[in-house]
Symmetry: C2
Subunit: 107 residues, 2 copies
DNA sequence: TAATAATGCAACTATATGGTTGCAAATATA
DNA sequence: TATATTTGCAACCATATAGTTGCATTATTA
């Protein structure tokens, strides 16, 4: 397998999956798969595959009720990405001068 | 092609590329390709391919001097990822799984 | 009970990805 | 000049990815 952050990054590295995630996050209610698929140009099975990737990353939670599977977005795994990013925050403004700070703290 | 943020996310979605990026960022000087490759178990050509992906995402800048190509990390493109993430920050403190965290800590 | 709707599963295709090896070209050094 | 070093290019391989279609199954509803 792959580690957690890799799973999350791979999930959001695809534009369609970012869109699906966004649709689910701003939806006021959980959406069944067919209803999600209707909002995209690709087939229901295509959407299902993307949902599986998102689910494995923890970004989507699926709740089966009868014949329907209701999907909800869960933003929590993004925390991990945020943490990884923050480790580099000091570099993206003034990389050279902050490299010194980093070395001071980590050597 | 793909848009900028997709390129950056795909670049950092691979653990080896995250490692390369990290090595270059904390290196006190720009490193030629062979020297980077020596720090990894995969072949020089494998590293070269990863460097190309990182370069296309703007995360690595390469400066040719004579027969050598010196590589430097550039964290700036991570800003874009950070911005995308911040759009969801409000959700990861206020989601169902955090209700779970709350209940865990207070019952 | 019969028809309809939502879904999963499986097979298939095309292309991307992560990796390798061999060789040629350019540059540096003895 | 002869040799060694750094690199790029090309071919190749195995697997993953993004997508499709067809069909069977399970629920719902008329």
């Amino acid at each position: 397998m792959q580690d957690k952050i890799t799973a999350v990054l791979k999930a959001i590295a695809d534009p369609t999956r970012r869109e699906i995630f966004h649709v689910l996050l701003i939806a006021s209610t959980a959406l069944p798969i067919t209803q999600i698929a209707n909002q995209f140009d690709i087939s229901r099975q295509g959407i299902t595959k993307h949902l599986k990737t998102l689910e494995e990353a923890g970004l989507v939670v699926i709740d089966t009720k009868g014949r329907e599977r209701f999907c909800n977005a869960n933003a929590t795994p993004l925390k991990e990405v945020n943490q990884w990013l923050q480790g580099y925050e000091q570099f993206w403004n003034n990389s050279l001068s902050n490299l010194g700070d980093y070395l001071d703290k980590n050597s």
